[in-house]
Symmetry: C2
Subunit: 428 residues, 2 copies
């Protein structure tokens, strides 16, 4: 595949006009302002088009598209206990499968090539990801409210033991399994220690919710005499490659701990705002040397899985709260939403338009009004047109979405099956 005469935005925000980008065997092997001599097969006209690195959604619960708009404008406790948990109690495997596909379709159509997921019925989400062609780090959520049970007694443990050989250790590494203790307040120190041990044993990455609300943060201090992040350090979780979701109420010392261990924080600005959880200090994290990636969180709290919208929001929020128009500049947002996300998933050869990198690419239509006039492609991308201008999404060199059509998904059926499963759950 060869993109001809296409504008390229690299992960660091550099704009290269009129490039030739050649793909072979899932990788970018030509990137130049001159055309290659060799034949790359399919030729794609890049006139009036912009090619950017595929977006990495660093934190979501993809099957929760089933709960999009269910439980709006409620306080967090009521949202969880009156709406989300009762709905989830009735979830079944097929619903998670269709809800996952719906979320993947939404992500592909808005330029996301990979996502980090935390949920259960993980096999359904893994199957859906394999079928549709998107990349995913799928974390089996681990929680435990029974004092008598250890990690190895939990269904999550048994499920992980099956998921690892079936999905993580087979195939081409497109779908990976993470170990995902849900949070400090839904587990215990021994569970955290044991999940970290399992991740170490199998070479898996980890995910966890940390300091999303002030209440949760302070209650941990009350319970353990230390912040959630300090507890993660003490239990060995920070020694694993880890993505911390939210991190709204992290202390300066917490940030320094995360920086020391190279832990990524997945910044989920929209979800935190919508649930009234608070405002994470994303730029301070970056200044302190903490890797920052961008996540949408679930469609139950967001209510979209649109990474360009999420990046715009992260930028506007940082500027608005600090009263500094230079806060969280567009180039940094792009870096966090692409290369930062790829690194948080352990995908070293992903997240940029560069020679030798995987061909995870998004093409946008610069004839969209939001790209006119052409003063600044990067800010037109983030603050002008946004995801409505996405016209192609490519994962590992395969076109999965093009001009409103999915190449691997039957979106009409996915919509109908998702609605059917949702209706069935509401009738239970």
């Amino acid at each position: 595949m060869l993109f001809e005469n296409v504008g390229v935005l690299k992960a660091d925000g550099t704009y290269l006009p009129a490039q030739y980008v050649g793909i072979r065997d899932s990788h970018i092997v030509w990137l130049s302002d001159t055309p290659p001599v060799e034949d790359f097969g399919e030729r794609i006209d890049g006139k009036d088009r912009l090619l950017i690195p595929g977006l990495y959604n660093a934190h979501t619960h993809v099957a929760m598209t089933l709960m999009r708009g269910y439980g709006e404008e409620l306080p967090l406790q009521s949202w969880l206990f009156d709406r989300i948990f009762p709905f989830e109690d009735k979830l079944f495997a097929e619903a998670v499968y269709w809800g996952s596909l719906l979320g993947m379709a939404e992500m592909l159509s808005t330029g996301t090539v990979s996502f980090t997921d935390m949920y259960y019925f993980c096999e359904e989400t893994a199957k859906a990801a394999l079928e549709c062609g998107i990349k995913a780090n799928i974390g089996r959520g681990v929680s435990c409210f029974d004092e008598s049970k250890r990690f190895s007694d939990l269904p999550a443990y048994a499920e992980l033991k099956e998921l690892i050989p079936t999905y993580h250790e087979s195939g081409d590494g497109r779908v990976r399994i993470d170990v995902a203790p849900h949070a400090e307040y839904t587990t215990r120190p021994d569970i955290l220690r044991d999940t970290a041990a399992m991740a170490g044993e199998y070479g898996l990455r980890m995910q966890i919710h940390v300091s999303e609300t002030n209440k949760e943060h302070l209650e941990c201090v009350g319970r353990h005499g230390m912040t959630p992040t300090a507890l993660l350090e003490q239990t060995g979780v920070l020694d694993r490659p880890l993505t911390v979701a939210h991190g709204v109420w992290l202390t300066d010392t917490d940030m320094e701990r995360l920086a020391k261990h190279g832990t990524t924080v997945a910044h989920c600005a929209k979800s935190n705002m919508k649930l009234g959880s608070g405002i994470a200090q994303a730029e301070k994290l970056i200044r302190k040397g903490v890797p920052v990636a961008i996540g949408t969180d679930s469609a139950a709290s967001n209510n979209a899985l649109d990474m360009l919208d999420e990046m715009r929001m992260a930028g506007l929020l940082a500027k608005g709260v600090s009263c500094d128009p230079a806060a969280f500049p567009a180039a940094t947002l792009l870096q966090c939403g692409t290369r930062g996300g790829a690194l948080s998933q352990g995908r070293e050869d992903c997240g940029d338009v560069a020679l030798g990198y995987r061909a995870d690419l998004v093409m946008l239509d610069m004839t969209d009004i939001g790209f006119c006039p052409a003063h600044a492609p990067l800010s037109n991308l983030l603050y002008g047109a946004g995801s409505r201008a996405v016209c192609m999404t490519v994962v590992d060199g395969h076109i999965l979405y093009q001009n409103g059509e999915f190449t691997t998904l039957d979106i009409e059926r996915i919509r109908l099956e998702t609605q059917r499963c949702t209706d069935q759950i509401l009738r239970m």
Copy 2:
């Protein structure tokens, strides 16, 4: 025209499934869950479609699409003095015409049926609005930095004298002329008094920027011993029907003054965030009885003219800053973005889907992924799909935008002419 079997969201957020909406002579004359007996001409299938009141953009400078992305991430003073003002110094009538059309196309394609504008070369914007079919309250900006000049000596005065008979007092009232002193810091008390007198004499509405930045607000107190709002009261401006843009730094007493006079505040959340001006207390204004409408401000600071995105942002910002997920609920956002905007323009029979109201309507495609599943059409509209699902925009019963096509505009030419004018200005 008859919409058949269409879901309707009224301005107050009420959802009515499977309605029949009949239009005759620019007005809605049938709204019922049963079809009318009489023939309404063209029939529009409303299956899987949502009909909402047209959106009212209560504050913008539409021709500033010419400066979209020009001067990003600069502090306000540098943004104005190093980028915007030098660019504007080179503006010419034709550029304003094309830039206005570009902005109108962007608004129509994202569901906006009317806008309140403040700029100069107003005749160009008025001509563009008449040609394209959109509604507009076009305010001639008035500023004065020459102590020897009175209002009647200014070009704005002469221009208003021509605009009023040509545009305001002729035609069907779709395009109206407002008197728009730019701000306290760009005028003087005598200018404010004289503009209010002119508005009174001709029965015109007024617009003004108020307390957008803290600096501007405090400098007014230093200069006049009172806030900008108090000065507007003293100079008679609050006695006119008035839209105040921004109002970020209004005091409680200012809010009470505005409530007493029925002055609308145009809340421009995204622009205020992007320029780092601060965060307006929109919900407090509503609680105090101040009419609130929603504006995008210009594409130079936003960088989009997308009202659904603006309303989403206003909602998320209110929730995020207050840590209250119930803050600025979706139904209130819809009311502010539709009926609230219409009333701020003095259009009493606009801004709702209701019998006897003008047929200013937007239809959205509920097969968009963001509308799936169908738990809550209103939050799916604002927080799920947003403007990408807009498939039809109707003004006074005329379809101006449908499925990506404009009926009155040549978008390809508008894009090229806008770029040509922009390039010309940058070369000067």
